[in-house]
């Protein structure tokens, strides 16, 4: 497949070939990949027709094993079988172990961020997640028989910036081009909304293995507008399993040491019990403890389970209540309720959701698959296979963004449930003469004290022109993109100087660490880093060429002066020549030249199309 088609100036480049976009549900317990085949979005199966891929990775000196095999042998080697790695994304080790103190894994001792010690060495959650994503990518390539253009990867709506960035980094490591990070409840709404062609207000209750989300959306003529979202990124079916595991441990008379030793077996048994009780009133399991010759039988009934999990389920209902209020709708206005995630099969969950919303929830689409399907539908649109699609997703920021001010307080810059993308600017000034740097601490959360919010990152602004104290007007812009990720830029207004920003994320990895990981993974996979970077630049170049030729054909005569036009044409020819060679830096520079020369042109085109549309012409005329 040719990477680059150099077109004659004035002609648009490649004809519209079908590109492949895939949807990935990277779940705590199970993952799935989907794609549109013959007009339908379907989840892709492995050789044994299994659609789910357990999010379990087993490391041995000779291999990395992802999925069922790894999961079914987890009792044998718990320290090297990583389960629910999603819980560790964007978190500190202490965050997770305070909640889960019996994990069988080995961690590097004095590291704030989790570093697993495994048979193949130290691994962080991003690397482990990338192994799961790689397996899904391989499955998709085999199933679709061609290269994947890009993927839409879902994340819990309540995931914060660090958790989202970690997910994106994992995808990059796995060699996936992320088209969008999509919120799981929104993905589910897409699958249902397009399926049923209904309009109105939908509530999505998503209880997965490790996370809980509730989203209230309004669907109208293909526009999915998230009105409000709430959740808990540390509450899920795993917590039910944990309660059961503790119950089983006390039934078996185990002490703390024995409980920890048998943690994996107890958790697996607890999960088995939970799933059984979705269909019967009493469940009997046999647990073979470490060192025992045979299993011991224990039983749990539905009432006992309900008592154990009641508080947690009630918590989720309170969150639903707040979300409905934030959405400024009444319960009566909610037309439909969708249940998502395996844990919604638990009877008590279904009952309480139905009682709260006063209507029976929809479950016609498999709750395990619905998120992946929604993601696949969006991926197909984002790669350009559906140019006539009217679908539009208007999602929101789930957690307020704020900055630390005097006295350990947080000042909110962007409130939760604001539609994204969004940008807000804040003015700062210096407090010392000649001050050339400034620190901005960004946090996420609803509370007023720094200690009660989640630290996102510390941004150091450098290169502020030296002035007297208070004379500098530094405009800091907080930009949240459609993935829910924050980007900070700063400019000193009187001089027009752009400040250099250094980011120190509070959780997760710095950019340099990601690059290191990327390079070392290349070497391990015997893939040429240079080769990949060259290819990426060439794809970029071909996009720029295609877009510019189209733009010039449409608006070149009207919106450009002769000189401007000449300069751009010249730059495009240079770019075309560079792209056919192997000098990565030359291509990058050539793209930069085209960018700079065409910036005003692009802005004029955008303004023209906006004015035209608003003046009453339909969007189709353009």
């Amino acid at each position: 497949m040719a990477l680059l088609q150099i077109a004659e100036p004035g002609q648009s480049a490649a004809p519209h070939e079908r590109k492949i976009g895939i949807g990935i549900d990277l779940g705590t317990t199970n993952s799935l990949v989907s794609a549109v085949k013959s007009g339908q979005c379907v989840t892709l199966a492995d050789e044994l027709e299994r659609h789910l891929l357990p999010s379990v990775v087993h490391y041995s000196e000779t291999s990395i094993d992802v999925g069922y095999h790894a999961r079914d042998n987890s009792n044998a080697d718990p320290a090297n079988t990583i389960m629910s790695v999603k819980r560790f994304m964007g978190r500190s080790l202490a965050d997770v172990t305070t909640h889960w103190h019996q994990l069988p894994y080995q961690f590097v001792a004095d590291s704030v961020s989790p570093r697993f010690i495994t048979a193949i060495g130290e691994l962080n959650p991003i690397q482990i997640s990338s192994h799961i994503l790689s397996a899904l990518k391989t499955r998709a390539e085999a199933s679709m028989g061609d290269e994947i253009t890009g993927a839409v990867i879902t994340v819990p709506a309540y995931f914060d910036d660090a958790q989202r960035q970690g997910t994106k980094d994992a995808a990059q490591l796995a060699g996936l081009n992320v088209l969008r990070l999509l919120n799981e409840p929104t993905a589910a709404a897409i699958a249902y909304g397009l399926d049923s062609k209904e309009e109105g207000v939908i509530a999505v209750y998503d209880l997965g293995g490790g996370t809980f989300d509730v989203s209230i959306l309004r669907l109208n003529k293909g526009v999915f507008e998230v009105l409000a979202t709430g959740g808990n990124s540390a509450l899920g079916g795993d917590d039910f399993d944990h309660l059961l595991a503790s119950h089983l441990a006390s039934q078996l008379g185990l002490d703390a040491v024995e409980e920890k030793q048998n943690h994996r077996r107890l958790m697996n048994a607890g999960k088995e019990v939970k799933e059984a009780l979705s269909n019967t009133d009493i469940s009997r399991v046999s647990i073979q403890l470490v060192g025992a010759d045979e299993g011991t039988e224990v039983s749990v009934n539905l009432d006992q389970l309900n008592q154990m999990i009641n508080d947690l389920v009630k918590q989720t209902i309170s969150t639903c209540k707040r979300a409905v209020k934030d959405a400024r709708v009444s319960l009566e206005e909610v037309n439909n309720v969708i249940l998502v995630g395996g844990s919604t099969r638990v009877p008590l969950v279904r009952q309480q959701v139905e009682t709260f919303f006063k209507k029976a929830p929809l479950t016609s689409i498999d709750p395990d698959k619905v998120v992946a399907i929604g993601a696949g539908i969006q991926a197909d649109i984002l790669v350009g296979n559906k140019p006539d699609s009217d679908m539009l997703l208007l999602d929101v920021l789930p957690l307020s963004l704020g900055i630390e001010t005097m006295g350990g307080l947080v000042e909110k810059i962007i409130p939760r449930n604001t539609t994204i993308p969004v940008a807000k600017a804040q003015e700062f000034t210096t407090f010392k003469d000649g001050q050339t740097a400034m620190l901005v601490h960004v946090l996420q959360g609803e509370r007023e004290l720094v200690d009660h919010c989640r630290s996102l990152a510390k941004f150091t602004l450098k290169g502020i022109p030296a002035m007297t104290a208070g004379a500098a007007h530094i405009r800091v812009t907080f930009q949240v993109d459609a993935d829910g990720l924050l980007n900070v830029t700063a400019m000193e207004k009187s001089s027009g100087v752009r400040a250099e920003i250094q980011v120190k994320p509070s959780y997760g990895l710095e950019e340099s660490e990601i690059l290191d990981m990327l390079q070392s993974s290349m070497q391990n996979a015997k893939q040429d880093m240079q080769e990949r970077m060259l290819k990426e630049q060439q794809v970029d170049a071909s996009r720029v060429l295609e877009a510019m030729h189209g733009a010039l054909a449409e608006d070149g005569d009207e919106l450009l002066s002769d000189n401007e036009r000449k300069a751009i044409d010249h730059a495009l020819t240079s770019l075309g020549l560079c792209a056919a060679n192997n000098d990565i830096d030359a291509i990058k520079q050539a793209i930069d030249v085209v960018d700079k020369l065409s910036q005003d042109f692009a802005a004029r085109r955008m303004d023209k199309s906006i004015q035209k549309a608003l003046a009453g012409h339909s969007v189709d005329d353009i």
Binding site: K325, V383, V422, A423, D481, V544, A613, L614
Partner: protein, 172 residues
């Protein structure tokens, strides 16, 4: 500062057609949303990200009367008073104190519902006054409108607190 009325192609005035606003919002979203540019060049992505962010901010500003009024004044080059300025109005301060006392005293659902209605009536009246003042676009009336907007902000804050208290009572 970007002129949001211009961006939305709506008349530069306080009175607004909310249906038209929504229609133009949908049109602008269809044109500028990042999802339309997922495979475009980096330059295009950046350009449309900034524009779409403006579209979103403009929508929330134009939708609500206080933010719309303030934006109109900014576009007209009028400086908005800081919080301290309104505190100087003694009569207004006394009124606020009365409201707060009533809120503290109200402990039943009925009493609070009455406050909601009364507060709402004041907000409606304030909006009308602001609309009148802004329609003339004279220096004097713009200044007066700025003061009224600041007062309306206080009343909105109060509305929030009444609602919060009402929620607490109905929840328990």
């Amino acid at each position: 500062m970007m002129n949001y009325f211009e961006l939305y192609n709506l008349p530069e005035q306080f009175a607004i057609d909310l249906i038209k606003l929504k229609e133009h919002y949908q049109t602008l979203q269809k044109l500028t949303h990042p999802d339309r540019f997922a495979t475009a060049s980096e330059q295009q992505k950046r350009l449309y990200l900034t524009k779409n962010s403006q579209v979103n901010d403009a929508y929330s500003v134009l939708k609500f009367p206080v933010s719309r009024g303030e934006h109109l004044l900014i576009v007209r080059g009028v400086e908005l008073p800081s919080e301290q300025d309104t505190v100087g109005d003694v009569e207004f301060l006394m009124e606020q104190m009365d409201w707060r006392e009533s809120l503290e005293d109200a402990s039943t659902e009925d009493a609070l519902e009455k406050l909601v209605t009364d507060n709402f009536d004041v907000l409606v009246a304030q909006e009308k006054v602001i609309g009148d003042l802004l329609s003339h676009n004279t220096d004097e009336d713009n200044q007066a409108a700025a003061q009224e907007l600041a007062k309306m902000k206080f009343m909105l804050k109060l509305a929030n607190e009444i609602e919060t208290k009402l929620d607490r009572i109905t929840d328990s």
